[in-house]
């Protein structure tokens, strides 16, 4: 169940260099949305839509929040939309995170952090969010996470903010001293692979959010295949419908 339409942008800010943060008033889509789902945003001069993860859902205000990075000319065009402009979106799409009543650790790398905000908010003080960025200038969303009541653990590759090191090291450390029921992760494939193996080692359930080049976004075209392993055999699931969130145990991280 999803909606398509033109909806007004009611908030916009630039979080970090090349990272944009927009809030769209789309009550019927927000009403249906769950943490971990995504939207297909249209950059008018491009043929295909851009799949962007949902960062925040406010069912009361009827808004969806998107924090995206300018990666190419399509996201660049999206970044030029301003408050008051309408954006053509299809949302909510895909299969989101499984919410438990236990304690969660959310691990986000770079632009993989935004989808962590939505799921972390579901847990509040039952969640710790480990975020990794290149450097201090790339850090985003830490205040939002704290506002949601989550514990935040910040890592940067160059040590210019928070812990000097990778999220995986921080995760290992965190798990030593904290009971954890589920791990959520989004970020570069190598990071997801490492997080998944740590989760396996500690036999903690782990869900990862994947990316893939996408066309329809609703499960019709079978374009956005992801390689999974089920009962020992390789199967192609689809990021837009079976995902973007998958059980880490099933994912073939090297494609």
């Amino acid at each position: 169940m999803y909606k398509q339409g033109l909806y007004p942008i009611i908030g916009k800010s630039a979080s970090a260099k090349g990272i944009f943060d927009i809030t769209v008033l789309c009550p019927e889509a927000a009403e249906l949305a769950q943490a971990g789902q995504f939207a297909q945003l249209l950059a008018p001069s491009f043929f295909l839509r851009r799949p962007i993860s949902i960062c925040g859902i406010d069912k009361q205000k009827g808004t969806l929040r998107f924090v995206f990075e300018v990666r190419g000319s399509g996201t660049e065009e999206l970044s030029h939309l301003n408050v008051g402009d309408n954006i053509d979106l299809i949302a909510p799409l895909g299969h989101g995170f499984t919410v438990t009543d236990g304690r969660a650790v959310c691990v986000g790398g770079g632009i993989g952090v935004p989808p962590m905000v939505g799921i972390a908010a579901e847990y509040g003080d039952r969640a710790a969010v480990i975020s990794g960025f290149r450097s201090a200038s790339a850090v985003i969303l830490q205040d939002d996470l704290r506002a949601a009541g989550c514990e935040t653990i910040l890592c940067t590759d160059d040590g210019s903010a928070g812990i000097h090191g990778f999220v995986t090291t921080a995760l290992e450390e965190y798990l030593q001293s904290n009971k954890t029921d589920i791990i959520y992760a989004c970020g570069p494939m190598p990071m997801l692979k490492a997080v998944a193996s740590i989760a396996r080692k500690h036999s903690i359930r782990c869900e990862v959010s994947l990316e893939q080049r996408m066309a329809c976004g609703v499960g019709a075209c079978l374009g956005c295949a992801a390689v999974l392993e089920r009962e020992g055999r390789e199967v192609f699931a689809h990021v837009c419908k079976d995902g973007p969130v998958f059980d880490a145990k099933e994912v073939r991280f090297d494609g």
Partner: protein, 303 residues
């Protein structure tokens, strides 16, 4: 309110707009937006004899006003289509076109035979899939092979038979004449143009299959030309497709000679595209005093 009914290969459609095979699944993903009964018909996901897992990803690449795909006929196989999808589809009050593809002539015939007793309204024989090793385009680029596979399917099944042609040929009219002579009741064109994109950062093709099929508005002028040439070369009706995204495109394609049209990649950009095109055709007819849309088929006057 104009009369939007059209007839293709002896089958009447309530309107000329049909989502193209591979772009609409079996319709399940779009039912939440509008009833499938709005559609003239649905050409369902390409079906093969046995289940196919499809090609290794990435399968999609964007291009200027178009896209490449190399899905590779991922589908559950004919049995599954007949048992799990068709029973649901027949309740939707729209025409069902079964798109079939085989890696051998025998496979195509076997597939057609399986559909003989089924509720599908029409068979669309795909002899032009650019994304599979055997069969696929190989069938669609040689007149004799195209004729042979058409004949085999014709003999295996009495359903109205439409053959989907490849644009990656020197003369699509020769292929069309050959399938017409071999018993096809209609032809549909164009399938995708073979294309390629390279990621200059990694120096690898964007598609894991290296090449893929180009569709979208970019190919529309090629499609209009081939539909025009083909409609003037054969007596059987032509179902036109390739880059149609608006009602005006659909009208243009019908004036070129298409008795009905298929909408494909445009659905990815706008899931409402098929119904917007249906409504737009109706408005266009009313604005232009066209009582029945079938009147405009092939009405372009060449210079």
């Amino acid at each position: 309110m104009a009369d939007l009914r059209v007839t293709l290969a002896g089958v009447e459609f309530k309107n000329p707009v049909i989502p193209a095979s591979g772009t609409y699944g079996y319709g399940r993903e779009y039912e939440c937006l509008y009833p499938l009964s709005r559609l003239g018909g649905i050409s369902v996901k390409g079906t093969t004899l046995h289940e196919r897992t499809g090609n290794i990803p990435p399968r999609i690449a964007e291009t200027p006003m178009g896209m490449l795909n190399s899905v590779g006929l991922q589908n559950g196989g004919a049995e599954k289509f007949l048992s799990c999808e068709l029973p649901n589809l027949v309740t939707k009050d729209t025409r069902i076109i079964a798109n079939i593809a085989g890696s051998t002539v025998e496979e195509c015939a076997e597939l057609a035979a399986m559909l003989e007793g089924s509720a599908v309204d029409m068979i669309e024989l795909n002899i032009s899939c650019p994304n599979v090793k055997q069969g696929g385009a190989a069938f669609g680029t040689d007149c004799n092979v195209a004729g042979a596979v058409t004949r085999a399917v014709r003999d295996a099944c009495s359903k109205p038979l439409m053959v989907k042609l490849s644009p990656n040929v020197t003369s699509i009219t020769d292929i069309a004449r050959s399938v017409e002579a071999s018993g096809a009741d209609a032809v549909s064109l164009i399938n995708t143009l073979l294309g390629m994109r390279i990621d200059i950062k990694t120096r690898r093709p964007v598609l894991h299959n290296n090449v893929g099929g180009l569709s979208g508005p970019a190919v529309f002028p090629v499609a209009v030309r081939m539909v025009w040439q083909t409609a003037n070369a054969v007596k059987i009706p032509v179902c036109g497709m390739g880059g149609i995204s608006t009602a005006e495109d659909a009208v243009e394609m019908m004036m070129a000679g298409a008795s009905a049209i298929q909408v494909g990649a445009a659905i990815f950009r706008d899931p409402y595209a098929p119904v917007r095109i249906i409504d737009g055709i109706n408005e266009w007819c009313d604005r232009n005093g066209v009582k029945s849309v079938s009147e405009i088929v092939g009405t372009v006057r060449p210079w």
